[in-house]
Amino acid sequence: MKHIVKIISLLVAISALWIGLLQTSLISPDYPLMLPVYLVVSLGCYGLLMVGVGLMQFPTCPQESMLLQQDIIEAKTFLRQKGVDIGSN
């Protein structure tokens, strides 16, 4: 099944649930009428929150840059000994 079908099915299911809620006027219809708006807003908030949290906890590795520099020096020394033409600096 294509992924878009899965997502559309999910949306249809949610819509069905919503229409069901509107039909069974057990509670005031004003409240369920607004539900899709809340859903979209909360989805947006979720996205922003995930980006924000992800950004704050973005793993960084400044030490790796230094280790790489050491590796580069080591590699250059070895390669130069072996006669590989890697330039002068």
Partner: protein, 242 residues
């Protein structure tokens, strides 16, 4: 999985290059330094670099042996996806590693990829930058923001089951990579995303290992300005075709 323990595995490391004269020498040294007691070959697919990358590769062949370093050049720049396909044709290992030549992927993680594969019997082991032990270095706030946004969007829309979709440091079972490469049509790093999403949909066992990503030291970064648009197009494409 059983036969992999008894039979000796061979790993073909495919490195596509374009103007990576210095980097390719460094990366080959580091691969040989970190891969002891493992049977492997390095396949360098050079797209006709004018800076003499191929000359350096030939010198490296003198040092390490022509059977360990294979130069499989192409006449001009023909794209990443076809570079892997080209390298794959010459691969003699039962596993294939693909990695970038610009030193943002450090060969010291190769043993972790191999270990993870043997432990889990996975068909794909992919490096992830988005976990605690992994990470990036040299990224601006803007790049982190874009990366995060892109990731949240992809996770929400595609449910791929993998934390790092656009990373390109991966180990594949050779048969799986052959199958995937034929079904993927995207270009650039959307290609990486398509590969892993299709693999996930096909039900392949995918495992992750943390890697660090140090932005390229030598040479200029090859990221273009229209990458966000390309990414969104790729996302939509995958939404409708996988």
């Amino acid at each position: 999985m059983g036969d992999e323990v008894t039979k000796k595995n061979k790993y073909s490391i495919i490195v596509p290059t374009y103007n990576e004269r210095l980097n390719i020498a460094l990366i080959v040294y580091l691969i040989f330094k970190h891969l002891k007691d493992v049977e492997f070959e390095v396949i360098i697919v050079d797209d006709g670099s004018p800076d003499g990358t191929q000359e350096i590769v030939k010198q490296l062949q003198q040092v390490y042996g022509e059977d360990r370093i294979l130069l499989r050049a192409r006449p001009k720049k023909l794209g990443l996806g076809t570079a892997y396909a080209h390298g794959l044709k010459h691969a003699s290992g039962n596993f294939v590693v693909i990695m970038d030549a610009d030193l943002s992927h450090h060969p010291k993680y190769l043993p972790a990829f191999i270990k993870k594969q043997i432990e889990t019997g996975a068909s794909i082991v992919t490096g992830t930058r988005y976990v605690k032990v992994g990470g990036v270095h040299g990224w601006t706030l803007m790049r982190k923001l874009t990366s995060r946004g892109a990731n949240v969007l992809a996770q929400t829309l595609l449910w791929p089951g993998v934390s790092d979709l656009t990373g390109s440091f991966r180990l594949y079972r050779k048969s799986v990579l052959e199958d995937l490469i034929n079904s993927c049509v995207s270009k650039g790093y959307v290609f990486q995303m398509e590969m892993i999403v299709r693999a996930s949909r096909k039900g392949h066992h995918i495992e992750e290992v943390p890697i660090t990503f140090v932005d390229r030291v030598y040479g200029s970064s090859k990221l273009g300005g229209s990458e966000i648009v390309e990414y969104l197009k790729g996302l939509l494409y995958l939404l409708f075709t996988t």
